[in-house]
Symmetry: C2
Subunit: 341 residues, 2 copies
Amino acid sequence: MKQYSVAVAGVTGAVGSEMLKVLERRNFPVSHLKALASGRSAGKQITFAGQTLTIEELNAASFDGIDIALFATDTPISKEFAPAAVAAGAVVIDNSSAYRMDPACPLVVPEVNADAMRDHTGIIANPNCVAAILTVAINPLRKLGNFRRLVISTYQSTSGAGAPGMQELWEQTKTVVDGGTAEPKFFQHPIAFNLFSHNTTIEENGYNGEENKVICEARRILGLPELPVTVTCVRVPVLRAHTMTVNIEFDGPVSVEAARDALSNAPGVKLQDDRANNRFPMPLAVSELDDVEVGRIRQDLSCPNALDLFIAGDQLLKGAALNAVQIAEMWVAQQARVSSK
Amino acid sequence: MKQYSVAVAGVTGAVGSEMLKVLERRNFPVSHLKALASGRSAGKQITFAGQTLTIEELNAASFDGIDIALFATDTPISKEFAPAAVAAGAVVIDNSSAYRMDPACPLVVPEVNADAMRDHTGIIANPNCVAAILTVAINPLRKLGNFRRLVISTYQSTSGAGAPGMQELWEQTKTVVDGGTAEPKFFQHPIAFNLFSHNTTIEENGYNGEENKVICEARRILGLPELPVTVTCVRVPVLRAHTMTVNIEFDGPVSVEAARDALSNAPGVKLQDDRANNRFPMPLAVSELDDVEVGRIRQDLSCPNALDLFIAGDQLLKGAALNAVQIAEMWVAQQARVSSK
């Protein structure tokens, strides 16, 4: 099997380090791995597939000879260096929001809209974590009827804000259980034993940046540009998995049984809907799992054509690193098809 | 001012002990306070208004000479002893779910449906914590238009499961930050750094017991017996305040400004809606506060006649003890009016 030279930019972050684990665990065909980060981390060593690698500073010349560049960087860094990677001949899979709404760059959840990848021009965008977990879980329900409206509330882990967010939850919690007071440093508000409206800026329409991303990206991934969606994004004291309630109104009646059937056989989804034992999706239980779990599937008592769902998925995996590597795997499969023609 | 003999049943629990604090803090006209609990706690001493009281065992004879009996007991205990209190001439204000849907017993949030108290026959029911916090926050918005549908997701603190729930969160969290594993004892699932669908049993309609209470009680308190409501109740790792997202569809267009105005002047409510500073309701910030906070008020992008809201209130105060004492205060005021006629 052909092997590929892979660069991971932002390799020291929560998502970047998870990308290395996922590449290794899924036996991604890596001929050579280049670990890139800011100057602060350059020279440090990390391990990948039993080999010790030295982190190099990310710059415009980093991508010479690279086939696949996975970016786990902030939006300004992606904007600065992804074009250089493309110019060097690499395909870029970018986890930032820099290119997600760019018509030239597909926004892909492989289980949902793999076809969109065909048209890429060098950069493929990896979605917002909520949008990825949401769309993989609800897309299988489209066979039951057309979506008319989504009402979503999220319970988002601190990993969504990166390693410093996770560390802040952990350190604050230690302080509080030791009798101290949680002093916010990274987040604006205390996160230990607390929760707050998502920490992104409120935009002109009254929704915060995260909420607007979820709405725009979910519509784009599902290929439903006019889908009515409302969402409230909330940060909760959980380390690395996102949970959400989703109310889906369809254009006609749907049954709970049909929804269960559709989800039972869906790729990337696990039905976790045990009413008798009160066992449903939970962030701790899905942490470090690839599948997104769905449960609490029930007929909405307030609307004859709606279902209520409860969904949980690992923010660092399906919400970020796993989805990016899945995109890379699909790109590899595309290359194999092209070269065999 | 006339003073009243008051019994508190279940005085050692999270709600019962809070009732004592609220009675004291609000200078409730108590001539004599009787502290009642199970046999296990009988003989122990507690402090009320600077006096040391000895806890007595709750039994059918406990209410001789009592004017007002506040029950902070489980449903079976309330069912067993509330009728004895009424027979002894006391008015009962019961925090359990025993009488909440009994047509003979008003279910009261004083800011919302004080009038319902007129028709009581000895027992006045104190609502479910979510129902109380929800209704006090949204009732002022009815002047903007008729409610057509509510879609609610909750972020409920462990205090809603009583002192053992709060203790479980605290102890498990200590264990986890010390490197151990959270072993569920009181709740079925780990609560430290986790969350789960509410721990009540799933009922025949697919909703759990808590969700069905919220729906039925909110309708009754608002006097809207047919109001379409759906709710997903979730337990989160927070100690003593409940938060919720509420999507309200009205029968016509409503403005964010009108909603803010209505809430600014509403009793029991504090507008906390600072978009510029990302400061909205938070459970830690409302803990030990009487007012329920409302924020994130915005036009729902998915429905022209709907608003999205984010609400937080202290579960032990407006969700339980404060509301019960407010009912008692209204009863006292009624007595004063009756005796002055």
